[in-house]
Symmetry: C2
Subunit: 353 residues, 2 copies
């Protein structure tokens, strides 16, 4: 593997990092050395990746030496601190966190949509979009190209693993507590009491519940997650005036973010035409036969690469509006896969002679 | 109780009927005799209602004799057949099914919104709105009165008990099967296999999943439930040209339907003004302090009367649009409570001298 670039996976032990190691095992190899980094908590842990048993090392300046591409799958504040250090040590950073996405000097790249933005990276950092935005934007972009997007109204159904491994653990713990009590969730059984105080990373129980909140409080009562969907959609599509209203809701699903999309276009649109566009779109699979029970659902999309799109129908009262439902694996296209795709494009330009 | 009208609860043993019996126990009594009716399957069963132990009788023509008001909490086809028979025997019918809602000779009544429609009932039948519509319309109507509604974009998070007792049973059965297996819902655990073939009234597993489908297939790929939200909203609000796009999604919640609402008005709207209108609206409780973890959620709304409204915010990109989230108990305001309110208004006009 001499001549192939060196890859670091920073945060290799987290929800995204774990899927990244699996993905790297299955994809065509473009990497020389792969280095797995995390905090002191996980140092020394053995992880299988690309058929090799690798030892997780602590993220230090020295551990970044000689790295060509560093994927960052760590919390925002860790990425904000360490990504510039990795760049100063000679790496190109592909960051999965929210730390740099809206930085005008950092491209926000979805390879199916705007790969050309990769070349324009003055800070040496490329950002990966938020997982909820990614699931949806892969389907919205080709429709925009055909019909001219004017407005998006979005409602999400977000999986708990979107809040990291701690989110998935919390839901499993809660389900173990509520299962078997057939009164819970009805007027005679109190879910809050059954779940207790250990809510994991969430503000309320997720078992037998939906929680209309993700992220932190932004201006005007919006959540940071909702503002990400708006701002990242605008940046990825290059539409600074796009109207976007999103409602982000956490649901008791382990993996797989879904979004109900109402998209308004500049021209009239029909469902068959839209279906045709989506069938030809990279990274999209159309699953749209409700009479046969075929629509996008998290239990089917989990572990797969594409965005599943279905329930495609023209608005009854507006010939320029289309409604559809999208589900994508938040840990794959929503995170690790998109990062891997970006990193592989970079690797092509880096392979040493 | 001589002189007070006789009430029949048809379908007294179902999900809605059971809640109806409880409600009748707690509300101010306006009824003389209460008669509980169901199919032969439940005949002879004892049910406590209003402090009395009542015996469920089979629904027959004779069982309807002398009934002043008959609440119908039975499937559509049973209501379609039996409601006219009840009318012919002298009863006024308040029907919870979908059989008569769009009949121009049947008023669709929400007492907080259009009680005056009660007087106009040429067929002797009054219809109760669909549970998803009800949760949302109680909040939308007062905003419409103030700001002039032009368009609704809706996405629902519907509880399994909306599909009757069989729906609630199915989710509990499924949760018992998936709880404890921490791989399920991730890429390494197959929920379909764990749940097996017994899906209850749903087209796919609900445990650890969301299912973007409710009802049957209507024109253009829309579901019947989505068309109900559109058509019933228009009828209740008296707005035959209202633009409505709804996406109806079933979620693993036992009771409590939620709706993410994007409402566009004729005039500019601000969140504080809207909050003021909603605080004064009958049947609404405003729960809107995200920083304190206060937003509407099924586990809190279950067993309560009002529609819980929160996440109230003006659209960032449209001063005439408001986004908010509503949760209501589908078995109470979504069904039994609204029916009881209507029936009590009718009882006032019926009390024998
Ligand atoms: N989950 C998703 O669906 C998703 C989707 C898109 C983007 N993202 C973003 O991806 C990033 C990772 O998310 P996740 O869900 O994988 O989180 P996670 O499960 O909590 O994992 C966090 C990872 O970061 C490492 N880490 C934490 N603090 C560190 C430090 N000071 N130095 C070095 N490593 C440190 C952890 O290592 P230890 O094992 O040593 O603690 C772990 O490997 C976040 O920015 C998240 O917003 C997540
Ligand atoms: N669940 C909700 O959230 C909700 C909300 C609004 C409206 N609705 C509507 O309310 C109605 C009842 O719903 P549900 O959820 O309570 O359903 P459910 O739990 O399935 O109960 C159905 C009831 O109808 C009775 N029934 C069925 N066939 C009958 C027949 N041939 N003759 C007499 N009784 C018969 C059943 O009696 P047995 O015990 O004898 O079978 C049972 O009492 C439906 O039209 C539904 O669409 C439901």
């Amino acid at each position: 593997m001499a001549g192939l670039p060196t890859l670091a996976v920073v945060g290799a032990t987290g929800a995204v990092g774990t899927v990244m190691c699996e993905l790297l095992t299955g994809r065509r190899n473009v990497w020389g050395e792969i280095r797995l980094l995390a905090s002191e908590r996980s140092a020394g842990r053995k992880v299988r990746c690309r058929g090799e048993e690798l030892t997780v090392q602590v993220l230090t300046e020295e551990a970044l030496d000689g790295v060509d591409v560093a994927m960052f799958d760590v919390p925002d504040e860790v990425a904000a601190h360490w990504a510039p250090i990795a760049v100063s040590r000679g790496a190109i950073v592909v960051d999965n966190s929210g730390a740099f996405r809206m930085d005008p000097d950092v491209p926000l790249v979805v390879p199916e949509i705007n790969p050309e933005q990769l070349r324009n990276r003055p800070r040496g950092i490329v950002a990966n979009a938020n997982c909820t935005t990614l699931a949806m934007i892969v389907a919205v972009a080709p429709l925009h190209r055909q019909y001219g997007l004017r407005e998006l109204v979005l409602a999400s159904y977000q999986a708990v693993s979107g809040a990291g491994q701690g989110g998935a653990d919390a839901l499993h713990d809660q389900l173990a507590k509520v299962a078997g009590d057939r009164l819970l969730g009805s007027r005679t059984g109190d879910v809050r009491q059954a779940v207790g105080d250990d809510l994991g990373p969430f503000p309320a129980p997720l078992a037998l519940n939906v929680v209309p909140w993700a992220g932190s409080l932004a201006d005007g009562g919006w959540s940071s997650e909702e503002m990400k969907m708006r701002n990242e959609s605008r940046k990825i599509l290059g539409l600074p005036d796009l109207k976007v209203s999103a409602t982000c809701v956490r649901v008791p699903v382990v993996t797989g973010h879904s979004v109900a999309v109402h998209a308004v276009f500049a021209t009239e649109i029909d469902a068959d035409g839209a279906r045709g566009v989506l069938r030809n779109a990279p990274g999209v699979i159309v699953v749209d036969d409700p009479a046969a029970g075929e629509f996008p659902m998290p239990i089917d999309a989990v572990g797969t690469d594409p965005s599943w799109v279905g329930r495609i129908r023209r608005a009854v009262d507006d010939p320029r509006a289309l409604d559809f439902f999208v589900t994508g694996d938040n840990l794959r296209k929503g995170a690790a896969l998109n990062t891997a795709q970006i990193a592989e494009l970079l690797a092509k330009t880096l392979t040493h002679p």
